[in-house]
Symmetry: C2
Subunit: 427 residues, 2 copies
């Protein structure tokens, strides 16, 4: 008998859970409860839109729900008055819009993403140019800031961390992106926390931060959801208060799964939208009777930030250093095709391998579009399969510079890593 | 003591041999003997130009040589009067321009490639439009024909095979490319052999073929070299008369290696420029004291043909059928990013796996540029590593439709293959 799988939360983890459930059993009855129902939270969020269109085409039902209560004894969820029965429940978040957690977040002018056709906010009445504050130097935040600045908006990017994106991207990989941001006129305010939104005449007029008020007619909240799951009586929680899970996303209660912001994060593991989608997918697959594990290091991630595309898998140097992991580094800056060919783009590849075995434990990439996502997908598999720098350095090339690098940057990076190692062992 | 490695032939296999020798020992003294020396055979050949620039930067010497004789006892090669000593000799070809093998191939108007800045040949004096014949429906020939037709030249593409490129590309993968060719105004003449070139007033005026004369002011010879190696006394030869080699490209004579058109082809194995480069690389690496094997199935290939980019690794359906190999097929037509996002492109993926083990034995790809080469590189590794359809169907995704497909077409193809197999086993 096909199971009825109920998913709470419509973010990447919720979409992943629905996808995973349908992967495992196409006949499973899958319903996603999310504020806004089938509509993406914001029409400009292409990730959500794509995922939902694809899921609806697979037979997944989306229902709008803002008030959610779980009755484990009767195995039902009460959503805005309706009672929905489930065989398996996947909790990803009850509150996918982190903006709503801050005072004033319901003001017009506070959005989760820059509308795709935006030409910026209305300028203020005082004659100043239009101003925007982007909250969170996430990949999504960087992209939003670049887009706003390009539209002529005076843009400030606020981030709580002293080094933006340090968990995800190594400083040498990120540096040109930050230079591009500055060149585009975006002001970065690191180590600054947003505390609320202030209105004048019923519209946003300023963003309140730990470093004072920033006047703004538009605020884009690009932080990842903080995780405020619905109450589940008796469920085991982790050190940060989120729901404890195993690598199949099972919780302490049979038939209840958690993923994404609702679940306890693994220390040191990356958490991008790609990771949340993958984690949700494991939860949904297991919930529907399949068997899929989640390993953060096996998930490729990729993000566009202005003219650059960043990507990778597993550990970068910053993350490895934070965990005290030793590694062998292979690094190469190559090109995507012959250098005199139209459309040639620079590609930076960094490979981190375990000393001794030389098995890949992580990779970081920067390019301008061409093949970053595909290389990230491949390198995530290389981590998963335990490929070594030797394996990667002996990969064969496509001999067609018009459409591919004669020396694949991954191969060059692996070869450089081995050469550095040989030189170090000789001295 | 670093070895002196001499490479005969400046085609892809010769470039690969020089690359392989420098890979194995950066101190090796590597010289490539090729007609034209360091200059590519044709200024429009981007592959050769890129490879030679890169090799010269690594310290490889190129020497022009048209008359070559090998003295194995003294371990020297006589090239146009000079005597060059070698420790290891790699023979890839003595005659990299197949056009010179046909009568009249020295006529002005007979070229190996369309010049990059070409606006087509001069129109004839009789008032007709300019006409070109492209010899060989190879990837390079298809690209040349599309380029000429786009420049307004009346273009005929002549190929000896009844089905062009059938060894390399499956009919369903190639079909849209042939449709594009026809739509661009290129006339395809399959099952037709070129026998020579005819001149009027010292310039090309027609191409002589098995199906009669074709008037033309330009002929582009895009066939792969036929293999006419220099004479090596006492060397063992294979069934087709070319030099017999093992998988490290060693011949029956110690210190002498062969690759590319000079070496005996493995029945059923692909032979693109990518394969010749890889084969040369194994020969050069072994010649310089390293150890690199050549496996045709582990080499990715990719070729642009008009608006399409084709690629793959290992066996396609036609090649597998010709060898009597059984296979499980997984096929998917996906998109390179979210369908409403600018720049979205269709991607076709076909995966062939061994029945039972479901290990990948080959892949075919068609796209419009984005990520075909990178996917081919990855799938060649998947063949090399023996990845199964299960491995490929459980790969994680990048969740960022603006820069990558939410459902990676390789994953969808593998999943489709498994679903078809499950359905077939139930009936």
């Amino acid at each position: 008998v096909p199971r009825t799988v109920l998913v709470i939360g419509g973010g990447p983890a919720g979409s992943g859970a629905a996808r995973g459930a349908k992967d495992a059993d196409t006949a499973a009855a899958v319903t996603v409860l999310a504020p806004g129902g089938a509509a993406p939270d914001d029409p400009a969020d292409e990730r959500q839109r794509t995922a939902r269109e694809s899921l609806i085409a697979s037979g997944v039902e989306f229902r709008g729900a803002t008030q959610i209560a779980i009755d484990l004894d009767r195995r039902i969820v009460r959503a805005d008055g309706a009672e929905l029965r489930f065989d398996a429940l996947v909790i990803t978040d009850s509150n996918p819009d982190p903006a709503t957690a801050l005072p004033g977040s319901d003001l017009p002018g506070v959005l989760a993403e820059v509308p795709a056709d935006s030409t910026g906010p209305e300028p203020p009445a005082d004659g100043a140019g239009p101003r925007a504050v982007v909250v969170g130097a996430t990949p999504r935040g960087l992209a939003a800031a670049v887009r706003l600045a390009a539209a002529g908006v005076d843009t400030t990017l606020v981030d709580p961390e002293p080094e933006p994106l340090a968990d995800l991207v190594d400083p040498d990989v990120l540096a040109p992106v930050l230079e591009q941001l500055a060149a585009a006129g975006v002001r970065l305010r690191p180590a600054t926390t947003v505390t609320g939104f202030l209105g004048t005449d019923g519209r946003l007029s300023a963003v309140s931060t730990s470093a004072g008020e920033l006047p703004a007619e538009l605020a884009v909240v690009a932080t990842t959801p903080s995780g405020d799951p619905v109450d589940v009586p008796g469920i085991e929680r982790g050190p940060t208060g989120r729901i404890a899970v195993d690598d199949r996303q099972r919780t302490s209660i049979t038939g209840v799964y958690a993923a994404g912001p609702a679940s306890e994060p693994v220390p040191g593991a990356l958490r991008t939208a790609s990771h949340e989608f993958a984690q949700g997918r494991a939860a949904g697959a297991t919930a529907a009777g399949g068997d899929r594990r989640y390993h953060a290091a096996h998930v490729p991630w990729s993000a566009s930030a202005g003219a650059a595309v960043l990507g990778g898998a597993g550990y970068g140097e910053t993350a490895a250093a934070a965990l005290g992991l030793r590694y062998v580094l292979g690094r190469a800056e190559g090109i995507s095709r012959a250098r005199y060919y139209p459309g040639v783009q620079k590609v930076l590849v960094k490979l981190l391998a375990e000393p001794g075995t030389l098995r890949l434990i992580g990779a970081q990439l920067r390019g301008a579009g061409e093949g970053v996502t595909e290389r990230a997908t491949f390198l995530a598999q290389a981590v998963r399969l335990g490929l070594t720098l030797h394996d990667l350095s002996t990969m064969e090339n496509v001999y067609s510079p018009a459409i591919g690098a004669l020396n694949e940057p991954i191969v060059v990076a692996a070869t450089n890593g081995l050469a550095d190692l040989a030189a170090a062992q000789q001295t």
